[in-house]
Symmetry: C2
Subunit: 308 residues, 2 copies
């Protein structure tokens, strides 16, 4: 099952305690697409300016990412600049230049109109619906959003969420969207808005999944090397949705649990370097190796095991 993803493709300038990266590839759709491409073909819809070069496109080349929907507009590419705190747990946005992204009107190429699986990256909920209007009859609609839209366009967002099957947001966003501090209560309120499956990302604290049957929880991998957390959430989404696209297991508890771990493992590579550098250098065997190692650490035997 291929994935149609719509979202931002950007330049990021990032400062972390480990260093600084200047005008490197960023944007939610970039991280998502690279991550998902290890599992399923990706069709990328976004916009870049005429300053966006072959160097940045290289991250997408040589993998199953179709760029027919990556529009090139006159002007400059979206640029975000941020600085992380010493502990990497917070960041300040120093600069946001929307540039060509300000007037982004997603145009879905005819070849993508029959997409079965759509991932609506974190853009205006009105644009998210315009994307859906251009797709014939997707089987699964997955979606991300952020506080900016939760506060700024609550009615538009509600209308979009009514059409969404899988929502991936972080814990603060879940609290703001629902008005509930407790995440179990928040999840019930959000699932009542439309998404049958809610994934709550908690960064270094792991992820919760709320679905039809139950609630699942997974820790993050304890990592010694964290260079740059930018894009970790989008990478998680790419690994999670990509894995499910490859197995078509969106309604299966076991597949959802494996997808949580694949998302977690894929994101664990992203934070080991700036931009998409580390995650684009992977191969599936490396991903599967870390997945199996993670599974070993998590697995608890049934029944009381004998003392070794």
């Amino acid at each position: 099952m291929s994935i149609l993803v719509v979202g931002s493709v950007a330049y990021d300038t990032v400062e972390t305690p480990s260093g600084r990266a200047e005008r490197v590839l960023g944007g939610s759709a970039s991280f998502f697409a690279v991550a998902a491409s290890y599992f399923a073909p990706v069709n990328l819809v976004g916009v870049v300016g005429d300053d966006f070069g072959e160097k940045e496109l290289a991250a997408f080349r040589g993998r199953p990412i179709d760029l027919a929907g990556l529009e090139r507009a006159a002007g400059k590419t979206f640029h975000w600049q941020g600085r992380y705190s010493q502990d990497l747990n917070s960041r300040d946005t120093l600069r946001t230049d929307l540039n060509v992204f300000e007037f982004f009107q997603p145009k879905i190429p005819a070849a993508y109109r029959r997409s079965e699986l759509v991932f609506l990256g974190n853009i205006d909920p009105l644009l998210q619906r315009e994307v859906l209007a251009q797709v014939e009859k997707p089987r699964v609609v997955a979606c991300d959003t952020m506080n900016y839209w939760i506060k700024g366009k609550p009615a538009e967002l509600r209308e979009t969420l009514a059409k969404v099957d899988v929502l991936l947001i972080n814990d603060q966003e879940a609290r703001e969207l629902s008005g509930e501090w407790n995440l179990v209560k928040a999840a019930r309120a959000i699932r009542a808005m439309g998404p049958a499956t809610l994934v709550v990302k908690k960064g270094e604290h792991g992820v919760l999944l709320f679905g039809h049957e139950s609630c699942f929880a997974a820790p993050a991998l304890p990592l010694e090397t964290v260079i740059d957390p930018t894009g970790a959430g989008d990478t998680f989404a790419g690994g999670f949705i990509g894995y499910l696209a490859s197995t078509r297991g969106f309604d299966d508890a076991e597949h959802l649990k494996r997808a949580m771990l694949y998302g977690t493992v894929t994101a664990s590579f992203t934070v080991e370097d700036f931009s998409t550098r580390r995650v684009e250098s992977l191969n599936r065997a490396e991903l599967d190796g870390r997945f199996e190692d993670f599974l070993d650490r998590l697995s608890v035997a049934r029944g009381v095991p004998a003392i070794a």
Copy 2:
């Protein structure tokens, strides 16, 4: 294997968004002992004042908790009063009356001197060592501490830690003790101080275990009802150490992982009511039932499962 626990037995007055509990049973040794008693016999060493009545002792009665080491001193029992924030994620101490606890000198009854397993609750590290000096040759020494001692008596604490096999502390304490923000690095530094096994408690975000072989991570149970978090960490320690005492699996990775889940599950009951109310009303079948349910939520199948 029975457990010798030394720590505080107290009155707590607690305000949370759910209500207020006045002069109810508190103290680290109380929560630890009740939790551990579902798994193994507990010998409790502590001090209370002459105001401590049969009503509070009732929590310890009818279960394998020996009170021969619970000294009754002239004066009042240790009293702590605190108020939690609306989101339960922080608390203010309104009042600490150490009372008889201020002059606590743990005296280990002769019958306990051959204890194989000692849990040193969060008391002055000098007193923790005086406890060890009164025990002949324990096979396993487990220990808790807090920021107050990490900052206030670092040299004494180091000397104690050199004699400890299993240290259970929270994430902030691990960072302060090691001077490292990254928990993987913090764990390496702390294990070099003595404890072969380090358990880092992260509250609602679960727990990490660092041992000989590897690092294990477990999420907490997502809970809808949280009335009072007081004692959750001590209950975790009681469930964790109690389980290992019952299987003697302190050096076995599979047993350590199960102990993490038993600690988590036992603590999940504590927060559902004030004081030890909920955790003292349990039975082992109820504990095992929630353990199995938790295991179901966590378990991820090996190999790609068929779509249901």
